[in-house]
Amino acid sequence: MIALFGIATTFEGCKPKGAGSAVSAGAAEKTYVAPGQYDEFYNFVSGGFSGQLSVYGLPSGRLLRVIPVFSLDPEKGWGFSEETKPMLETSHGTVPWDDLHHVQLSKTDGDYDGRWVFVNGNNTPRIARIDLTTFRTAEILELPNSGGNHSSPYITENTEYVVAGTRFSVPMDGDDSDTPINTYKKNFKGTLSFVSVNKDNGHMDIAFQIETPGVNFDLSRAGKGVSHGWFFFSTYNTELASTLLEVNASKNDKDFVLAVNWKKAEEYLKAGKGKKVSNVKYAHNIYDETSHTSTSTIKNEVIVLNSAELEGLCYFIPCPKSPHGVDVDPTGEYIVSSGKLAALIPVFSFSKIQKAIESKSFEGEFAGIPVIKYEAALHGEVEKPGLGPLHTEFDGKGNAITSFFVSSELVKWNIKDLKILDRVPTFYSVGHLMIPGGDTKNPDAKYVVAYNKITKDRFLPTGPELAHSAQIYDITGDKMQLILDFPTIGEPHYAQAIRAEKVKDKSVKIFKLEENKHPYFTNGESAAKVERNGNKVHVYVTTIRSHFTPDNIEGIQMGDEVYFHVTNIEQDWDMPHGFAIKGANNGELLIMPGETQTLKWVPDRIGIFPMYCTDFCSALHQEMSGYVRVSPKGSNVPITFSVGTNQPTDTQ
């Protein structure tokens, strides 16, 4: 067996001979969704370095939507319309492109409730909330005192908190952060942010941050059931290295899992044990679907709890060699942490951790935090499971499935007796894996999906860059069976899937015109107008199949800033209109039925500028167009606007 792994490692990224035969009979039947039929699951898949969130149907693997989150998206106008621009604001200014890693569906009683999806921005640390009635990003919260928000946005069983742990420790924000890098061990700190979520409207707020030693936090999971009230974070770089981490952060035989008692943190917070820090700066952006506008507010305060000073808040558990995933089984009793450089999988027991804390079964301290004895916390180890274990999901039948990057496979094993039950190859080098509901109290274990890092020959070649491949396996039987490959956007990190029934009937079809509170809403064609206010010109435009009102506009001058506030007065599902005008440096608009969106246009020359609808709307879509006249500055051409009969009347 070891020799086999050796071979697999040597040929990492190469196609094993006869891989095609890995596909089982009946695969087509299991993944075929007939025309007009719907998929069973929505699969929310991180778009990785694209900064976006993709939505696939399972089991078909069909791409249903890409939801823009942390990056500009011209297809949806995200970051181009005046209304969406504030959503990409940060304390550093506009960040047009970030790196989205992990996906968490909101939970009630430890099961998905279909309300929101939370995702993390890894580079400029942020958490975003996506509303599942609109499939749009509703809120983005930046995190201060942070570098590399990787172990995020994992959530507690009732969505009490969404967490963010720093992958890159940095000096705390403020004047003292200008410090030599070689003072890492003394000055660099990690933080764990606990972001509260309002039960009614989903609004996020940093409830508190926990300051920790400068280790790198990798991933995290909330306890559930018996372990509700605790949070578990995997760490690496307990060597506290700041250079060549590839070598220098891989020296210790064991790093740590950090167990955080967040109920205790709440008590300390209530008792006023937190330190109010006000030299921070972070953006909080909210999109409002009634005013169809967003706001970005800079905040300057956060409360910090110190992990070393507050007893009973944090405990380290030794874990072999740079653990990556830390995953909690459906009962909440077992915590699986995969040492990505280790040849075994340790499984910790929550009840044993509690006993170890009670009996002070510690092997010492690390930076002021007690370190529980490895054996005292350990349920057991899965022996020789494969190479490079990363992440684990659960089937709810007492089994776990773990992904192995180096040996390119999924391995199914029993949580109680730690025996390996089955293994299947992936193509190639699997990162995250996902079972629908695989992190809930009640997994819906029909499929497991492998999100692979290497594609090579799985699809038709498309030049040097290839779509990442995902693979669906049927796990209803004893043996995992590969049934479909499908390409994904960006690089999928984590993903989650929810039964379609929990989401689809709540989907918004239109925005009601009667509820439109946009400050530049046009209440029907008769209210369409053009208003000059100094050098700012506000154009109130309506769209309906298939014309703009107004569609002949004169009186614009060089030096003007023109704002086209376009209200789509359609009230029918799937009837967006587009808006484009020649030479516009802010791109275009796409306006949903009942919505108002604004394009800012600064004409760069005199002349006549055609405008038109970019989204095919009817048999007369091609006719949906108009003209805007731009005259020299100080021209005596008055503001006029019309539709149907062009104004002013033809005099020539």
Partner: protein
């Protein structure tokens, strides 16, 4: 039969041209109804929808008509003039003389299925080429618009 074929072909052409499908989608996981329009059980006097008989009363309700007017200005006037002049769709003058009140209310609240089945609406589609949008009118909105149409046609 030949005419029906032309209408169907027309329908297919329209459908093919429209990336924003006007088809009604059911919200179940089962396949949406895909059967071709059956005209056999369609009543062109009644139309198709939830209204069977609309009690329009003896006299015009002026307040209701005024409310209908403002709803129509927002949701209908982009395409319909209140005279007999065609804009995108036909002018409204005389519409309450041509159609039963419940046919009008069925049509404005349930346009897509009726456009697929009603012979007059199919003929109208050949002239206008734009399917009347579903403007998501409430029953109450529709009744008020009907009252405005009656006023527009001279009801007292």
């Amino acid at each position: 039969m030949k005419k029906l074929l032309v209408v169907i072909a027309m329908g297919i052409m329209l459908y093919a041209c429209s990336s924003n499908s006007n088809q009604q989608q059911t919200s179940s996981t089962s396949a949406p109804e895909s059967d071709s329009p059956t005209t056999s059980d369609y009543d062109p006097k009644r139309g198709e929808g939830k209204f069977d008989k609309v009690d329009i009363g003896d006299r015009l309700d002026v307040k209701m008509a005024a409310e209908g007017h403002s709803i129509a200005n927002l949701k209908c006037a982009s395409c319909h003039k209140y005279t007999d002049e065609k804009l995108v769709g036909p002018g409204w003058s005389g519409v309450t003389k041509k159609h039963e009140p419940h046919w009008i209310m069925n049509f404005i609240t349930n346009p897509d299925p009726m456009i697929d089945k009603d012979p007059e609406l199919q003929a109208q589609l050949e002239l206008c080429l734009v399917r009347m949008p579903n403007q998501n009118l409430s029953d109450d909105d529709a009744r008020k618009i009907l009252e405005f149409m009656r006023q527009n046609d001279g009801a007292q």
